[in-house]
């Protein structure tokens, strides 16, 4: 009997990886073209935007919160970035700065209401989700802001940003390098620094953490700012990649990011989570998107199958909890 428990523990501890392996094998067999070096290498690139958001989202969820606003913030900041660029052709760093400030501000706004007025994170970020989407549409006048100033296209800073968003360095796309750098940095911040321990402690037991002298309000405020800041980074990248600021960017991305966290074992109750596991959770979702498209499936089937697999991966994780 005791020996039986070993494989059981192995299965539950590695549930996500096992599902990943099964999904991988399934696509390798059933989706022609899936199992090529080019395609496999493309999965991290295709998932990079969601991974960047999911990284910040992991911290938010560990504090016991949730952030529904990031998809809208991506659109809002992409529009801001494109607007500034279109208006002032020579100020690319200014446009980036403007977008990042706009993102961080929306995070600060949310954090302020959560901390000062005890608005539940679900509600505060739901409000920001519609506000940021509305602002994006307002600033873009319900259209897209095209970055088509020839003066910008020659400008080296802009070329650099665009390169990061679309090109490769020795086989590894810059965007993937950036994404991995953010994941490693924030992953280590969460595991090794005092701030990281405060984040986990806040979600584990807020009262006890407060009593031991930690400014939990500051911690909670910061995680929303970090998350929205990362959304702004994605907004700048999206706008650069597609050469426009579209107020409809990022619709439902917050849900992909939350799914990546949860599949990666982050507890929605707070207090538990790991950014590196979130990375794999997001890669699993990215692999599903990639493989299902490679099979030539229609979008409604992709939605359904994705939902089922996410549920399956989480069920395994829940078994362990009991």
């Amino acid at each position: 009997m005791k020996k039986m428990s070993q494989p059981a523990r192995f299965l539950t501890d590695n549930g996500m990886y096992i599902v990943m392996a099964l999904v991988f094998v399934y696509f390798a067999v059933s989706a022609p073209g899936f199992l090529t070096a080019n395609n496999i290498a493309r999965i991290p690139l295709q998932s990079a935007f969601v991974i960047l958001i999911a990284t910040g989202m992991t911290m938010v969820i560990i504090t016991g919160g949730i952030d529904l606003s990031v998809g809208s913030v991506v659109a809002f900041t992409a529009v801001i970035f494109s607007l500034i660029l279109r208006q002032y052709a020579v100020a690319v760093p200014l446009a980036i700065l403007g977008a990042l400030i706009a993102g961080a501000t929306s995070g600060a706004f949310v954090g302020f209401f959560i901390v000062k007025f005890r608005v539940p994170p679900f509600i505060a970020t739901l409000a920001m989700m519609t506000i940021a989407r509305g602002l994006a549409r307002l600033f873009a006048q319900n259209s897209k802001i095209f970055i088509e100033n020839p003066a910008i296209e020659k400008y080296s800073d802009f070329i650099m940003i665009k390169e990061i968003a679309i090109t490769n360095a020795i086989g590894v796309p810059y965007l993937v390098v950036l994404m991995l750098a953010v994941v490693v940095f924030l992953g280590l911040v969460l595991m090794k620094t005092r701030f990281g321990r405060y984040v986990t402690a806040t979600g584990g037991n807020e009262e006890a953490t407060k009593l031991s002298g930690v400014n939990v309000n500051q911690v909670k405020f910061m995680v929303y700012v970090i998350n929205a800041f990362l959304a702004a980074v994605v907004g700048v990248m999206m706008a650069s990649k597609f050469m426009n600021g579209n107020p409809e960017f990022g619709v439902m991305w917050e849900l992909d990011a939350i799914a990546a966290c949860v599949v990666g074992g982050t507890s929605l109750m707070g207090g538990k989570g790991n950014i590196f596991k979130t990375l794999f959770g997001a890669l699993l979702i990215g692999m599903l998107d990639n493989g299902l498209l490679a099979q030539g499936r229609s979008s409604e089937m992709i939605y359904i199958i994705k939902g089922i697999i996410i549920l399956g991966a989480v069920i395994i994780d829940q078994v362990k909890e009991k």
Binding site: K2, A8, F146, N290, A294, I305
Partner: protein, 322 residues
């Protein structure tokens, strides 16, 4: 006690895994049952498609036209949807390229920025066609879409029947889209030929009221047109949204003898036309034919025949359930 617990854990873990596998298997079976012809035969040439979306009537019918025509001509059709998301269209194309398609059809989410996506096909020498929506830049072999000029002409013919020779008519349009400009030009050209009189502006040019694709604004503009022209007998609105505004203005004016012709024949418009009010007819696109002619054009191109850079698809007239 402990052993019993662990035994339970084993069972639960095994169950969870089983559930996942079963779900995935079920999902893949259901797909096979639904699309038996998917990635079956080798040797068939593949036509890859990335639709703008697949959840509205127009695109559903267009998809049907592509699929039925393609399969009857011996192509393997791989039809994906971008769900009006540029990032998804980019991923769609990555997936399509895995199939080594003989040709790729795009209904671009973003006319201006889609050349970045078209480049991926150009790099592999795969011909690109656009359907319904054109690409502003990038190497496209042929663009297949409704013949909007013909649509305007058809509207003018019906208008002449309704108001008679010498009848005074005017136009509500939207500046910007080429499609709308072509509709208006077709209407004015044919209308002049048939002896319709147009409301003129101060400079003696044919007056076009800017409804800006907005119902409210179109209503105001139509009111202005009606109030300023006691003899007005007909209004042509360049799409259904603007036609709805014009209808409200006609009904509000309490004047009789003003008729309306719209464009698109959306379900709402069809209902109004069926109701037998002032709204007499609508120009109707044939999305099925757009799909069909797209495949036929590709077939010609692949056989080495010359194809036109722009292929117009005939439109019809909806004038009620007569």
């Amino acid at each position: 006690m402990r052993e019993a617990k662990k035994n339970g854990l084993t069972k639960r873990a095994a169950l969870a895994l089983l559930v996942c596998v079963a779900m995935f298997a079920a999902a893949s079976c259901s797909k096979k049952a639904e699309e038996p012809s998917a990635p079956a035969e080798q040797g068939k040439k593949v036509i890859g498609v990335s639709l703008l979306k697949e959840n509205d009537d127009f695109y559903k019918t267009l998809k049907k036209g592509l699929l039925e025509t393609g399969e009857s001509m011996g192509y393997e059709m791989v039809i994906l949807s971008a769900d009006t998301d540029e990032d998804k269209q980019d991923k769609n194309v990555d997936a399509l390229l895995l199939k080594n398609p003989a040709a790729v059809v795009l209904c671009p989410v973003n006319s201006k920025g889609v050349h970045a996506i078209i480049k991926k096909m150009d790099a592999k020498g795969i011909p690109v066609f656009t359907a319904d929506i054109s690409a502003e830049k990038g190497g496209v072999v042929s663009h297949i879409a409704s013949d909007n000029y013909m649509g305007g002409q058809i509207a003018a013919e019906r208008m002449a029947e309704l108001v008679g020779k010498g009848g005074l008519v005017t136009i509500i349009y939207q500046p910007g889209p080429e499609s709308v400009a072509a509709r208006v030009k077709g209407f004015v050209d044919k209308g002049s030929e048939l002896g319709l009189e147009f409301v003129k502006d101060a400079a003696g040019q044919v007056m076009q009221y800017d409804g800006n694709d907005d119902q409210q604004k179109s209503e105001e503009r139509a009111k202005t047109a009606i109030a300023g022209n006691p003899k007005l007998a007909g209004i042509f609105a360049a799409n259904d949204n603007m036609a709805a505004g014009a209808e409200a203005a006609i009904l509000g004016s309490k004047r009789t003898g003003i008729v309306l012709i719209g464009y698109d024949a959306a379900p709402m418009a069809q209902k109004k036309i069926d109701g037998g009010g002032v709204w007499k007819a609508d120009v109707m696109q044939n999305p099925f034919d757009i799909g069909k002619i797209t495949v036929e054009t590709i077939d010609k191109h692949l056989k080495g025949e010359k194809v036109e850079p722009v292929v117009g698809v005939a439109v019809g007239l909806y004038d009620g359930a007569k």
